[in-house]
Symmetry: C2
Subunit: 197 residues, 2 copies
DNA sequence: CAGCGAAGCGGAGAAGCTCTCCGAAATCGG
DNA sequence: CCGATTTCGGAGAGCTTCTCCGCTTCGCTG
């Protein structure tokens, strides 16, 4: 998964090396200066020309996606590990908390990505995460600790929403946690009117 | 409320006229080209020089805020009207739905604003909206139709979150409504355990 | 009405950004 | 080692945001 194009096209060694240099520089630079960091600056830091950067990543979104990618992989690994723990409910809660942290840390990147990508695909990030969530959620639903009418996609959206909307509340650092607790409450709750079953 | 500085400093007539011309041009241009529209273009359309635009609005955020302002006023009016209707619960639900629509329509502006304003104040928009929400929510809480541990700020954040995170789900237009319904369910629910209060 | 101080205008232009183009250089299979 | 091919890199076009400052316009005051 090279994140800039096909999976395993054999490319020249210098191309592969530059690719990695650029991603590393991008990771650092985005972390320091936010998602609007200059791409020229990233190229400079990677020790390549701007042309090279644009050859590898045709636009800022592609670069953001690449940087986001490995953090997402980490998150999926976490989910997989949690799947083999005791409490379905606890696993879901813990993972959602981890996901929220992730989303808040990367909110800048993710939000920019959302704004920038009206059309570009690249967003199978979302799909991957949804799959991780689905596994945890459906186990909890089978367990009876999560309401059955909740879809993983909706759940993720909700938590992403919390992350985005609390991104800049420096004043109230507990808010995100509070909102997540609130959502978790709602996950446990029975649907209000749903007499059947 | 002139949205670019002090409330009622008496300014020269040409300055006031230009202010309005700029806001109007900005409203149109943002609507057409999104929140990244060129400020030069806006100045051109308003028939003023770039210098004049920047004298009135020191940065893009200020301009976005001004444009957002009157839509927010509309929303507050709606809230005030709903306060004098029968059902506290229904009023809250209806207003949240309206707010969600607003937030989704203006997501581009609002999201950009959030990203851009790491430090700038200007965000009393949020405060104004929170006040409107507070009135409706506390009535519902007194009525017993909303859980008492929910703060208006948190509620708004949650709905903003839905708006932001569903902004680009063209594929599933019902999702935002579904998520809102879910949140409304949670608003009705009792707190599960009184732990942290 | 005439004149004057100050507020405000506007456009030239600096600085910096994204992204393209293409001659030069590096790579790799034979 | 050599030629075909990929890839590099940086000059530069065309944007952008934002500043500076000489000139215009306003509105008060005598």
């Amino acid at each position: 998964m090279t994140a800039d194009g096909l999976i395993s096209v054999r490319r020249r060694s210098d191309a592969r090396r530059n690719h990695d240099l650029i991603v590393t520089a991008a990771r650092e630079t985005f972390a320091e200066s936010g998602p609007d960091a200059s791409l020229n600056e990233i190229a400079r830091r990677a020790g390549v020309g701007p042309g090279t950067l644009y050859r590898h990543f045709p636009n800022r979104s592609a670069l953001l996606t690449a940087v986001l990618k490995d953090r997402i992989d980490t998150l999926c690994g976490h989910a997989r590990r949690l799947l083999s723990t005791e409490s379905a409910d606890g696993a879901l809660a813990e993972w959602l908390r981890a996901f929220l942290d992730h989303a808040r840390v990367n909110q800048g990147l993710a939000c920019t990505l959302m704004l920038e990508e009206r059309d570009t695909p690249g967003l199978d990030c979302q799909r991957v995460i949804e799959e991780a969530a689905a596994a945890l959620l459906s186990r909890a639903q089978r367990d009876g600790t999560a309401r059955p009418d909740l879809t993983p996609g909706d759940l993720i959206q909700l938590v992403v929403g919390i992350a985005l909307s609390t991104a800049r509340s420096d004043d109230d650092p507990g808010r995100a946690d509070r909102l997540l607790a609130f959502v978790l409450d709602a996950v446990h709750a029975r649907p209000r009117r749903e007499a059947g079953a």
